[in-house]
């Protein structure tokens, strides 16, 4: 088999059609250049150049070998570059899971920040509920995941990605919509579209605890898992709902949002999780991009 150095020698001579100039370009003297070409021809068992002491010409075989040699050299260069980028976490594929709710605000901002900071990174996004994401993380089918806390598994690490307050979503015609802000006490009598305890465990517990703290038993008229479904029902004036502030990006006609004032903040949190032993250098980059992300 030939050698990269032989390919470089051949390409130089084939382009210059002159051993002296080619040798100069390669920072070497003619004799070793001559020999490298001879070795290459011997290895291929093909004459690539026709040379007299006055002229150098490519044979038909040489003409067909030149672009191949150039392509191999380019490929070697780009493989080197790519591998260094991957090792530095600046390139590669990041398999990222996210919860449906994070898609309204946190995920798009994270994706935008990643595209700016790490343009050579390809994202493979999958929407899944927290529990499934944890499984996929552990199985190595996800590299990182935007999930609801807490992340307790010993093989996983996590940092907070977002803490957003809950807001009240209510039909525009509801009298409470006239108020600038609302407290749990204002909502006691309102029909509440709430979260399903199994499919949306985190929000269910959050809302549940919040009302319990205020000493109020909400009047639950419906339980759903998906925020966009809940808001669709709010729009039908079936009732009001508590949703994370990011959901305001879902602009539905007839649905208005009002801040929820609490004695102490009870934000909905989102964390970024990954395997403790992950060898993806990308993870470290991802975490720092997340940390540098503007909180808005």
């Amino acid at each position: 088999m030939f050698d990269f150095s032989q390919l470089r020698c051949f390409a130089a001579v084939a382009e210059e059609l002159h051993f002296g100039r080619a040798a100069a370009r390669l920072n070497m003297t003619q004799p070793p250049l001559s020999r490298q070409i001879q070795v290459l021809e011997r290895v291929l068992d093909v004459q690539l150049l026709e040379r007299t002491s006055r002229s150098v010409r490519l044979t038909a075989a040489g003409r067909s070998f030149l672009p191949e040699a150039q392509r191999i050299l380019r490929l070697a260069e780009s493989a080197t570059y790519l591998t260094r980028q991957v090792a530095a976490g600046r390139a590669g594929v990041l398999k990222l899971g996210f919860t449906a709710a994070s898609a309204y605000d946190c995920l798009p901002r994270l994706v935008a920040a990643l595209r700016r900071a790490l343009p050579e990174v390809t994202l493979a996004l999958r929407e899944m509920v927290t529990k499934d994401q944890i499984e996929e993380l552990l199985a190595g089918r996800l590299d990182a995941a935007l999930v609801r806390p807490p992340v307790t598994h010993p093989d996983l690490l996590a940092v907070r990605a977002l803490a957003e307050p809950l807001v009240v979503a209510l039909p525009a015609e509801n009298p409470l919509a006239a108020r600038d802000a609302l407290a749990p006490g204002d909502l006691g009598g309102e029909p509440l579209i709430a979260y399903a305890p199994n499919e949306a465990r985190y929000f269910h517990d959050l809302v549940q605890g919040l009302f319990a703290e205020a000493g109020i038993r909400p009047r639950i008229v419906q339980q759903l898992a998906q925020i966009h479904s809940i808001l669709a029902l709010v729009r039908t004036a079936l009732g009001i709902a508590l949703v994370p502030a990011g959901a305001e990006h879902l602009r539905l006609d007839g649905v208005v949002f009002r801040p929820l004032v609490l004695p102490e903040p009870r934000p909905a949190e989102l964390v970024l999780a990954w395997r403790r032993d992950a060898d993806e250098p990308l993870i470290a980059r991802l975490v720092s991009v997340l940390a540098a992300m503007p909180p808005a």
Copy 2:
């Protein structure tokens, strides 16, 4: 820069995930294999493998480098193969010129024979008159050409590709069509659609000479360069014509062909010409394929 041997070493270890087995596959011992991998990692300045004395695993960078390494190795193999094929005249591009008339019979057979004998050869075909083909040959823009003799230029070589008799093309309703064969003497009174002396010099001279030999002055009603145009006029019963036998492949309704019997054969010849100094190994193959071609 790394080395093909290092790529092979890495690919083997990455595929086996075991230095011992990889070394066996490469017909070498572990130590040099270990060192080649180390050198590769040092050259790239990237860790490709994570190894303990019990296990070998690919890093993220290693996973991205493996397919690149395999691709480079495959490309080197295929470049070697291709170049050897080109050197042997079994691959490459052959720029072949041909005259319009040869397209009816000789060229298709030659193309078919080439496809069978040299499937990796690509043909670049161009239809041109003989004079232009000679020019293009000399300029290096054609590798070979099917032209009318004689080829006298000292820089060119040629072999006969085809010698086909002339036949009489005549309207089906012409009384002569009842005959099995015709001689020049039978054609004296017939209106003749003949060849233009400039654009179709070869056929013009051939037909001219043939009648002169028979002592007959033909009654020329039209002069054209292209055989298909001549036959189209024969079909209108404007007159008869003499065309090479291969033109019988052009089946026009209302036109019949009859052998032309001559005191001595005066075939229309076609020769294959190429530059004497052509370095295309393909030329030699082409000539032998032509020689082996069934004359039918």
